[in-house]
């Protein structure tokens, strides 16, 4: 007889860890599946094994993950690292979740699910971004956190808090930042202005952000309002070319790190048919949440950046709230103290999301980056360029899913994760529609590739 868990959490980042702690303390049987080797998610990656040199470079916010990780490791939940979830479906007793563990597929059953697998970086399709020597800023930070690897020299390009933070961390570690190319359009600052009030509700973060911005502008070769970035090179990056106010620049480099914010990973919720909605502020699809992480599908919750992007602090609170809501189901008469804690937590989450409005608007992607042109590769897996997609869209293609059938864009191993948003933007632009009117790419199992042998050996229930 297979064990039926009360609560299965996918992802051991701040949201997943906080939820597992709360739920297991309340007496639920909890299983956490995480794809990484150690818990922490991307933000607190490797925080349990980091050296003092890493902690010095990464800054105090990284070490905030330590007490959370400690509480998670002490909690009485089952935790399975290096587990790649490839299938989730409804089951007589709730849901069955199949994960690849050490090359074998293993099934787990749970009455309730929490999807907390976080976010990914918004793809930044500039000309030549497929060449070796181009990575994301997140990748650069992961290499620093998990492997203590640093580039000798780097060009950073894009927009958003992570890019500035990484520049700061790299400088602290003595990396030569050859240039920082800021693609944030000037109009964003004006658009974000009314949201300054929201930002002022979190003065500490606001000051930190402004200080980070200011320091980079002074301490590294900084270019503002950058457009038309091109990566130059053959088998390896040799230089980056770009325009500022009508003037062309070319800077030699062997490494370019790109970043333009993060977007929610909605694939798991989509396979379970949870309703999706387009967020104009965050410029990405996200899973609709009724309250306390509850999606449109009974028994399925989302928390943290897998839902609405909000960062680590919010993710931790949302994870806790989602678990409290799940615990409430088993408890007919919650105490007043519990009710009050629940109410206070949901209020705090609402307030933090409102404060996040400033960052959302300030770092919206520049239009030229959302709608690439010409031979710029949009679908990296199937090597489909922007012009081909625009042509198909202009010929009257019904949407991104039909476009996938016509062009193969979105059919490769990454399953549309790197091109899906740009396909949507290109179709919307060509057909004069809004993003909300262009549906997202459909998601089908397997959520990550599995070979036929593994599928055949998949443990049957």
């Amino acid at each position: 007889m297979t064990q039926v868990y009360d609560y299965l959490v996918v992802g051991a980042g701040p949201a997943g860890m906080a939820a597992a702690i709360e739920a297991s303390h309340a007496g639920l049987t909890v299983l956490v599946l995480d794809q990484a080797a150690t818990a922490g998610g991307q933000i607190y990656r490797n925080v349990g094994h980091s050296s003092t040199a890493q902690e010095r470079v990464l800054g105090p916010d990284y070490s905030l993950g330590k007490p959370l990780l400690k509480a998670f490791m002490a909690a009485s939940c089952d935790y399975q690292p290096l587990a790649q979830v490839w299938n989730i479906e409804p089951h007589a007793q709730g849901f069955t979740v199949a994960a690849l563990i050490d090359g074998r597929s293993v099934n787990f059953v749970a009455s309730d699910l929490l999807i907390a697998n976080g976010a990914m970086e918004r793809p930044m399709a500039v000309a030549g971004w497929e060449k070796p020597g181009v990575m994301t800023a997140g990748a650069g930070q992961i290499l620093l956190k998990a492997s203590a690897l640093l580039p000798k020299q780097v060009v950073l390009a894009g927009s958003g808090p992570l890019l500035l933070l990484l520049a700061h961390q790299y400088r602290a570690a003595g990396v030569t930042i050859t240039a920082l190319l800021d693609t944030t359009p000037r109009s964003n600052y004006w658009r974000a202005m009314p949201w300054l009030v929201a930002g002022l509700s979190m003065p500490k973060q606001l000051i930190k952000g402004m200080w980070l911005t200011l320091v980079q502008r002074i301490c590294v070769p900084y270019f503002a309002n950058v457009a038309d970035i091109q990566i130059v090179g053959d088998a390896q990056v040799k230089a980056v070319r770009f325009m500022v106010a009508g003037k062309e620049y070319e800077i030699p480099t062997n490494l370019v790190l790109l970043h333009q914010g993060i977007v929610a990973q909605t694939q798991m919720a989509q396979t379970l048919a949870c309703e999706q909605e387009w967020s104009d502020a965050k410029q990405c699809w996200q899973t609709q949440v009724v309250k306390a992480g509850q999606t449109s599908v009974p028994g399925v919750q989302v928390a943290g950046d897998a839902g609405a992007i909000g960062g680590a602090q919010l993710a931790q609170l949302e994870g806790r709230l989602a678990a409290m809501a799940r615990v409430k189901q088993n408890c007919t008469h919650p105490s007043w103290a519990r009710k009050l804690a629940y109410f206070a937590l949901s209020w705090r989450i609402r307030q933090l999301h409102w404060a996040r409005g400033l960052v959302d608007r300030m770092y919206q992607p520049a239009p030229w980056l959302s709608t690439p042109t010409g031979t710029t590769v949009v679908c990296r897996c199937e090597q489909v360029c922007a012009a081909e997609i625009t042509d198909i869209a202009k010929a009257g293609c019904a949407g991104v899913n039909q476009l996938k059938a016509f062009s193969r864009a979105g059919m490769g191993p990454c399953q549309g994760r790197q091109c899906g948003l740009n396909l949507g933007y290109l179709v919307a632009q060509a057909q004069g529609r809004s993003m909300a009117q262009v549906e997202p790419l459909s998601v089908r199992s397997p959520l990550s590739p599995i070979n036929l042998g593994q599928l055949a050996q998949a443990t049957e229930l």
């Binding site: 497929e130 620093l144 690897l149 897996c381 191993p413």
Partner: protein, 103 residues
């Protein structure tokens, strides 16, 4: 193989003892333990991970968090493994042969 664009943060003058032996395309190397395979490739100066099946161009990991599938390599005989998702282990054999890597 070209000079690596990456180096270790705590550059070991006291030579970091926690290394393990891996085989990259049959050649023996020592790399720090707990590194991902993708990080180990960068550390060893291999900037590209695979030859793209459609374009034939060399490609390399973009995201290092399991999303982009650009860092696919063969690990211990298993094809199409995401190098960024697998920590290195003792005597691991990695096959990664992007064409035109160092041209």
């Amino acid at each position: 193989m070209i000079a690596s664009a990456f180096s270790l943060l705590n550059q070991p003058s006291s030579l970091n003892p926690d290394t393990c032996r891996i085989l990259l395309n049959g050649i023996e190397h020592q790399v720090p333990v707990a590194m991902s395979v993708a990080a180990a490739l960068l550390y060893l100066g291999q900037g590209a991970t695979r030859q793209h099946p459609v374009s034939g161009q060399p490609r390399a990991g973009l995201c290092h968090m399991g999303v982009c599938f650009e860092c696919l390599v063969t690990i211990d005989g298993q094809q199409n493994q995401r190098a960024c998702m697998r920590p290195v282990s003792a005597n691991m054999s990695i096959i990664s042969t992007p064409k035109d890597l160092n041209s």
